[in-house]
């Protein structure tokens, strides 16, 4: 089978999935560009009487999209940093060092992974209120970091154990200290794993909803999912063209970052698997 034939077969197999995945984007764009009076017209059409790009600008101004975008970026980036700073040493210890209580520690992590924020939301809220962190972005940073900890440690540890120990040992023989071999030899090799893990944590934080709903108060600190939910949450009125414009803007940057990171990831993974 030639490469061309194989590609055709693959695309045929993937096409139903691709249609279902792309349909919401088409719907978002279609509704986002309709004039208000046509959003509820019957029968519905894909394209309105005009392509009303002004909806995006109006949505941006009337919903406070900008501050929410900033809040989402700040929270996701900070949560990723917090989570990795805590997870990297723990994963190294699990992958390289033998110590009493190692199994217990691994089990503890597994238990934290099983808890979804929604199950603990009452307790988390009271904790944050007691610490004065309600309506502070830090509350989200800490909880997102904590709820991703187990996953990050697992991911890192499984990659770390594929990095040959001999390289570090060689560095020791060459006279490097433990810290030097860690930062100069081990971490550079572990970078692909760190990058992959960062993406997981970042996406989780970018998309999280229940905790943001419970912990945030001021509309200008709403993360994007919460902001968009607040646009449909009003009982009296929903401006669907704004909702769809906002959803489109909130998902396109991630999609672009994704397609960029994806190439990076593939390269990173192949470098990481050099034996």
């Amino acid at each position: 089978m030639s490469r061309l034939q194989k590609s055709a077969v693959y695309w045929l197999c993937l096409s139903p999935l691709a249609v279902v995945i792309l349909l919401p984007y088409a719907v978002m764009l279609s509704t986002a560009l309709k004039p208000r009076a046509e959003v509820l017209s019957f029968p519905p059409t894909w394209i309105g009487s005009e392509l009303r790009f002004a909806n995006f600008a109006e949505m941006w101004a009337s919903t406070g999209f900008g501050p929410s975008l900033a809040a989402s970026l700040i929270v996701s980036a900070a949560a990723t940093v917090v989570c990795l700073l805590v997870a990297i040493p723990a994963a190294y210890a699990l992958a390289r060092l033998r110590f009493r209580g190692r199994t217990l520690y691994a089990q503890l992590l597994l238990i934290t992974q099983m808890l979804s924020p929604i199950v603990l939301v009452i307790g988390i809220f009271r904790l944050m209120a007691a610490m004065g962190l309600v309506d502070q972005l830090w509350a989200l940073v800490l909880t997102y970091g904590a709820f991703n900890l187990a996953f990050a440690v697992w991911m890192l540890q499984s990659y770390f154990s594929t990095i040959p120990k001999e390289l570090e040992e060689a560095a020791w023989i060459d006279g490097a200290t433990g810290l030097q071999s860690l930062t100069l030899v081990f971490l550079p090799m572990a970078l692909p794993a760190v990058a992959v893990t960062s993406i997981f944590v970042f996406i989780y934080s970018w998309n999280e909803f229940v905790l943001a709903l419970t912990l945030m108060r001021s509309p200008d600190k709403f993360t994007l999912p919460l902001k968009i939910f607040s646009l449909v949450g009003g009982a009296y009125r929903i401006d669907w063209e704004y909702v769809m414009a906002a959803t489109f803007l909130a998902s396109v940057p991630v999609a672009i970052v994704f397609s960029w990171l994806q190439r990076y990831l593939v390269r990173g993974l192949s470098v990481g698997s050099v034996k």
Binding site: S7, L97, V119, F209, M244, Q262
Partner: protein, 295 residues
């Protein structure tokens, strides 16, 4: 030598501290709440023993939600794994447009579950949703279908959406696994004349199994606790016939003000997941030992 034995503990200490602080304390708080009579506003009154658990047991909606959660979890996770393995194999292979295909498959991940559900709610609307309009134009429908009006239609639709949004994560785990497989073994197998199917069942699947196991465990935890899809699309309607445990938990806690019963429900859910994970880990371990004994 002292330093060497302390080192691992120093390294895990920050993670233990963070987990106890942000997750451990709320567990204690929820457990405490579940054993007391607590009003709508979280003010703890007298000790209630197991009264809250008894109330849960006597609530037919809670029991029905439990069984529905099982169906939901098994259907979404099972569907996801079955669909994701071939997708990952294709995406791992070299073909024209591979990069584009990867981006498309990963796209649902770029949108928050809450947002995805909002868009689907709008798309599925019987009167002005684009799905009906498109099917109608294609001649596949002769009148509006209310996709979310009955559980018989709404629940499978939501399961399908659940599968769709679980694919990107699962495929990523599998791709990571496939990338770590030693290529030379496959090359050798091909030279030895193994067919593609033989290579898949005898090399790829066994080597991929740890990753499949991880994907199953993590997906079950995510899907069991998944809230936004059902909450946004049906809120458990009609007549609680699409409620799963987390949506009913949310109603109990925040709509009906039964914080104490909701806390009891949280603990029961946690215990169910814990039991599942222990049993699953035990099965995986036994399977591995059996394999080791054979070779």
């Amino acid at each position: 030598m002292q330093r060497a034995t302390l080192l691992p503990y120093v390294m895990i200490l920050p993670s233990v501290a963070l987990a106890i602080w942000i997750i451990g304390y709320p567990i204690y708080d929820v457990a405490h709440t579940s054993l007391h009579d607590v009003n709508r506003f979280g003010q703890v009154r007298e000790f209630a023993g197991i009264a809250n658990f008894a109330a849960l047991w006597a609530d037919p909606i809670a029991i029905a939600s439990f069984w529905r959660t099982l169906i939901w979890t098994v259907a979404v996770v099972g569907g996801t794994i079955v669909v994701s393995v071939p997708i990952a194999l294709m995406l791992d292979d070299d073909f024209i447009g591979q990069g584009l295909a990867r981006v498309i498959v990963m796209l649902p991940w770029a949108v928050s579950l809450a947002m995805t559900a909002i868009v689907w709610r709008w798309t599925l609307n019987g009167q002005y949703g684009m799905l009906n309009a498109t099917l109608f134009n294609l001649g596949l429908l002769d009148g509006p279908v209310e996709w979310l009006a009955t559980a018989e239609v709404a629940f499978p639709v939501m399961i399908a959406i659940g599968i769709l949004v679980s694919i990107p994560f699962t495929v990523t785990v599998f791709l990571g696994g496939l990338a770590s497989l030693p290529r030379d073994i496959f090359e050798a197998a091909r030279i030895d004349g193994a067919t593609a199917w033989q290579r898949f069942t005898q090399l790829t699947l066994p080597l991929l199994r740890p990753f499949i196991n991880i994907a199953i465990v993590l997906n079950i935890i995510y899907v069991f606790n998944s809230f936004p899809i059902i909450w946004v699309l049906t809120q458990g309607d009609p007549a609680n016939s699409t409620d799963i445990l987390v949506t009913y938990l949310y109603k109990l806690a925040f709509r009906y003000g039964r914080l104490d019963v909701a806390a009891a429900m949280s603990l029961v859910m946690f215990a169910a997941l814990l039991a599942f994970t222990i049993v699953y880990a035990w099965m995986v371990m036994r399977g591995r030992q059996a394999e080791a004994a054979e070779t």
